[in-house]
Subunit: 191 residues, 2 copies
């Protein structure tokens, strides 16, 4: 009865790797047990179940992305900062598609509030300091950017823009240009 040294942390990172390899919705307690060459029931001492495992992977992914985003944005402003932040999401999704999918898992409100999700919102708000936006337009812009990043990366990852000209790298650069221009010329509310 050799002890493998399971912990919630090791299960979470192994689950994240598994997600990147086979897809987030193929991450099961059974598959993870196989990966550690251990019986399924053994995992239930460390993780409350399938939902708990997925949530932990999601929180890990959110933290990793927030760390990367924090580094990327530091010392930049304006279009530079915008592109740096956007590229973090896009690159992360490409390198870690399973983790990225995990990060899109719907968390219950308390978990979400305690997650790194709030850092993402703060970072997005931070890059808007380079643009002259007052509240509530700043919040509108944060939501627009968040929606666009999420939508673009999801669609690109899902093959939504597949194999049609122009290539998606060009679109990515040009849409970031466009968003930069939009933030610099944010329209006044029509009264």
């Amino acid at each position: 009865m050799a002890r493998v040294g399971l912990t919630a942390e090791r299960l979470t990172t192994a689950g994240a790797e598994l997600a990147d390899e086979v897809g987030f919705d193929q991450v099961t307690v059974s598959a993870l047990a196989r990966r550690f060459d251990v019986k399924v029931a053994s995992l239930y001492s460390h993780v409350r179940g399938s939902h708990d495992l997925r949530t932990r992977i999601a929180l890990l992914a959110l933290e990793e992305m927030a760390d990367l985003a924090g580094e990327a944005v530091a010392g930049r402003s304006g279009r530079d900062a915008l592109a740096a932040l956007a590229n973090v999401y896009r690159d992360y999704a490409r390198e870690h598609p399973g983790r990225y999918a995990a990060a899109r898992l719907r968390l219950d409100p308390e978990t979400a509030a305690a997650s790194a999700g709030v850092r993402h919102a703060r970072l997005t708000r931070a890059i808007l300091r380079g643009y002259a936006l007052e509240e509530p337009d700043q919040t509108h812009a944060v939501r627009l950017l968040g929606s666009f990043f999420h939508g673009y990366v999801s669609l690109e990852l899902g093959g939504g823009f597949s194999h049609s000209a122009p290539d998606t790298d060009t679109t990515w650069l040009r849409t970031l240009d466009a968003l930069d221009a939009l933030l610099r010329n944010w329209p006044k509310p029509v009264p």
Copy 2:
């Protein structure tokens, strides 16, 4: 052995209703069989399996949305058309969250090409006729809009903007204003 009158179509619409009630990923062949008060194996004469069922629901949702979008956009242009199209997606997602989730299912390329997804792309391109955009900027804009619509609706549905001021209806209107302004002043590529 009373015959219930199962067909692929009835299973698909019932599956769509089930998705809206309990969530798309809770749509199972078993649950559907229970809903028709029929044994599970009976469904396999009409539907090839779980994946096939989900795909059919996805295609149904795409068609429904394309129909609504087509009606909404007809006879409008400019900001009017933009808002009409955007509202179709948002309203559909709110009224039919399960179907909307289904529509986001990743389809294999052949299925996707034969789906109503292509109508969505054409409709988005159509509303850009009201703005002076040449290729390839038109494609960039189509992708930007698609990404934003998808991202916004997903995040809003997932509670991403939950319960914080300003309310999301206001953000929705103001971001549509912003996108309209962006399309009218699309930036030239920086050489």
